[in-house]
């Protein structure tokens, strides 16, 4: 990749990046909400399904109350497993990002900035630098807010084609263009001679398989791997193009925004979710990481083997929309529609079930299957979470004087934040954002470790004292 094109790189894909980041944000929020409910709702499904087939939803509530105790033990049992199911991909993403940052110098080299952060940080005074970074962060956040609102508006006015086109373009960009750049830089770092034909073949295969896996069907592990890879690529782009103070500020402000957007009644994401609920359809599951496969509803056979064989994975961006048209009306990934119902019930109280929702419930796998396979209840985490966690850890490893200590501290802090968030979910059983706690812990530990712990550990290592 020549130098000129490196500079032009920021311009073209920026639209996609910001949209993608907005998307990741929204989706992450949506899906964190959905994820919140995934755990609770799926457990309720376990107990509710035997009663709800064909019956009004109100019975569900009472049954659920009685089973609350068992639910919560199941929650904890599921909770621990689900936490680990999220720990592993988050860890993998961070490992990829840190490994890349440490070895490929391209991502720590300053090659300009995004157009969304126009103010430079190479200023004479600290005050000027602070001001510039605040302005940069403000611009970036406004871009994200605008994108989110645009998304909500598009969704409200049912411009599904536009949204799906947008998502397809984003993932095309990530899978082909950014991975091409990444591959090129890796080859440069290790001084590997490579011809264009081979590279073209490799990137083509990588990209096409990625598009198929993410947007349509594919083996679960491959899908998960692709999602981790594109999150890592996106995080690397942010790490490269965001100047230091701007990056930290953006992380902080995004957590606050996440908190507001998910919890405030007038938040765009909440409105998005509620609109989707009213229409009783899934939110475009764009860019969600799912830890298990979702039952395809038309495959709800009695035979668990058949079901297990015919499992399919979650996050097809366009696929659910298409599937809803092509197959049964409720051919949702069973979890989604049930979720929305439960969510609605939680928020608005028990309402009489519409034929649609009843059909959706009936079409779910029967109780026996679900109780036999509690492990199949998975968790979903929005890719935006992956990206911002990785940005934090990547920036820590790139710029910290404490280096590995700081990276490790941020890593542990983020994992603990994730754990706490899931715990809060289990306790409060309502939509909670995934970013604030982890990013707060991460930021606190980054600055504390870098400035306080590192000198201490340095001195200890120098004298070879042990604590």
């Amino acid at each position: 990749m020549s130098e000129e094109s490196e500079e032009s790189v920021p311009l073209l894909p920026l639209q996609q990046e910001s949209m993608a980041s907005a998307l990741f944000n929204t989706d992450q929020n949506d899906n964190s909400e959905r994820r919140r409910h995934d755990n609770s709702e799926r457990r309720r499904n376990d107990n509710a399904e035997s009663e709800t087939n064909g019956q009004p939803q109100s019975n569900v509530q009472q049954v659920v109350e009685q089973d609350e105790e068992e639910d919560e033990e199941l929650t904890l049992k599921y909770g621990a497993k689900h936490v680990i199911m999220l720990f592993v991909p988050v860890t993998l993403c961070m490992v990829v990002v840190v490994a890349t940052i440490k070895s490929v110098s391209f991502y720590t080299r300053k090659d300009g900035q995004l157009i969304y952060t126009p103010f430079t940080e190479e200023t004479e005074t600290v005050g000027q630098r602070a001001l510039n970074s605040i302005l940069n962060a403000a611009i970036m956040i406004s871009v994200i807010i605008v994108m989110t609102i645009l998304l909500v508006v598009l969704y409200k006015y049912r411009c599904y084609k536009v949204i799906h086109g947008w998502l397809i373009i984003s993932s095309l960009l990530l899978l082909f263009f950014f991975s091409f750049i990444y591959l090129g830089e890796v080859f440069k770092t290790y001084n590997v001679a490579m011809d264009y034909i081979t590279v073209a073949l490799m990137i083509w295969n990588f990209g096409v398989v990625g598009m198929i896996c993410i947007h349509w069907k594919g083996p679960l592990r491959l899908q998960q791997a692709y999602l981790i890879m594109i999150s890592a690529l996106m995080a690397l782009v942010f790490i490269k193009y965001l100047p230091e103070w701007t990056a930290w500020l953006i992380l902080a402000v995004i957590s606050v925004y996440d908190l507001i957007a998910v919890l405030c009644p007038k938040g765009p994401l909440r409105m998005l979710v509620e609109t989707a609920q009213e229409r009783n359809e899934t939110l475009f599951p764009a860019l969600i990481y799912s830890s298990t496969m979702i039952w395809l509803v038309n495959m709800a056979e009695e035979d668990p083997e058949a079901q297990r064989k015919s499992k399919n994975s979650t996050y097809d961006k366009k696929a659910p929309a298409n599937r809803t048209q092509n197959e049964d009306a409720d051919a949702d990934d069973g979890g989604f529609s049930q979720e929305w119902q439960q969510q609605r019930d939680n928020r608005i109280g028990p309402i009489e079930s519409t034929p649609e929702s009843r059909a959706a419930v009936q079409a779910l796998p029967s109780n026996s299957q679900t109780s036999e396979d509690p492990e199949e209840r998975g968790v979903k985490l929005g890719l935006g979470d992956f990206i911002f966690y990785s940005v934090l850890v990547g920036k820590a490893s790139a710029t910290a004087s404490g280096d590995w200590n700081t990276t490790l501290a941020c890593f542990v802090a983020i994992l603990i934040g994730l754990c706490l968030t899931l715990l809060l979910l289990a306790i409060f059983k309502k939509a909670l954002p995934a970013l604030p706690i982890s990013i707060t812990f991460g930021l606190v530990f980054y600055f504390a470790t870098d400035n306080l712990v590192q000198p201490f550990m340095d001195q200890l290592a120098f004298h070879q004292f042990y604590i």
């Binding site: 033990e73 590995w404 754990c419």
Partner: protein, 256 residues
């Protein structure tokens, strides 16, 4: 300094701990969470103790070598005390967690016992402590350089690795001892753990006279291991049956 040094030191320092992790902790999600939470608690204690040290250093004269060293020693001691305090806090937290697990379980018993939690918490503390001591050293050992070229000890990396290993083990055993002491209200066990920790850290002040720091630490570790083993229900008989691969009545199988 080469890959050989890097891998050698990594496996010396972290080999046993990783094996413990893989064989006893990695299978159970709850234990992994307890491990990471333990690491977090240790980290917080380190943070607070470095804050205190930092304030003390900034408030003092940077030119005075003796004072700085004295402050460092004070920092080490304070950090040890704070680590043990946080171990106690973690014990409290885990107790609450067990009560929660018991209250919510169907058959009235928690999926994990306090002894297992004690062990995992100890490993968590140990791993984090070892990682923070060792990781930057390992990263440096990959790069170019000559150890001890200015007259310092040439065994720096090796001894650091051994010290880290012994500390990880010690933290594991201290976890078991400490939690047992808290459970059964035996304050002398807790005091013993604190004193042992202070001793081991104090012995490290002898470095680079490694015979003064490593050998006693290993002896203390053996003592702590035996004590923890006895407290966890082990006995000479158990050990014998384990080593001879006997199971009660069954055909010879590796005892667990």
């Amino acid at each position: 300094m080469t890959l050989a040094v890097f891998f050698g030191c990594t496996f010396i320092a972290f080999g046993p701990a990783f094996s413990l992790f893989i064989f006893t902790i990695a299978r159970d999600p709850l234990r992994i969470i307890i491990l990471i939470a333990g690491a977090f608690f240790w980290l917080v204690s380190l943070l607070l103790s470095s804050l205190i040290w930092f304030i003390a250093v900034k408030a003092s004269n940077p030119q005075d070598e003796q004072l700085q060293k004295g402050l460092l020693i004070f920092g080490v001691m304070f950090s040890v005390l704070l680590q043990e305090a946080f171990r106690f806090l973690y014990y409290k937290l885990l107790r609450k967690a067990i009560e929660g697990l018991v209250a919510l379980s169907e058959d009235g018993c928690s999926p994990i016992s306090i002894q297992q939690m004690a062990y995992v918490a100890g490993v968590g503390f140990g791993l984090m402590s070892g990682a923070f001591s060792m990781i930057n050293l390992l990263a440096d050992s990959l790069g170019p350089g000559t150890v001890g070229i200015h007259g310092d000890s040439q065994l720096y990396f090796l001894t650091s690795a051994f010290m880290t290993m012994v500390l990880i083990f010690l933290h594991t055993f201290w976890g078991i001892l400490f939690f047992h002491g808290c459970e059964h209200r035996r304050w002398w066990e807790i005091a013993a753990v604190v004193i042992m920790h202070l001793t081991v850290s104090g012995l490290s002040f002898c470095n680079p006279l490694y015979v003064g720091s490593l050998v006693p630490s290993y002896l203390l570790m053996v003592g702590a291991a035996a004590w923890a083993y006895l407290l966890s229900g082990g006995s000479a008989q158990n050990l014998r049956r384990f080593l001879l691969c006997l199971r009660s009545g069954a055909s010879p199988q590796p005892g667990s």
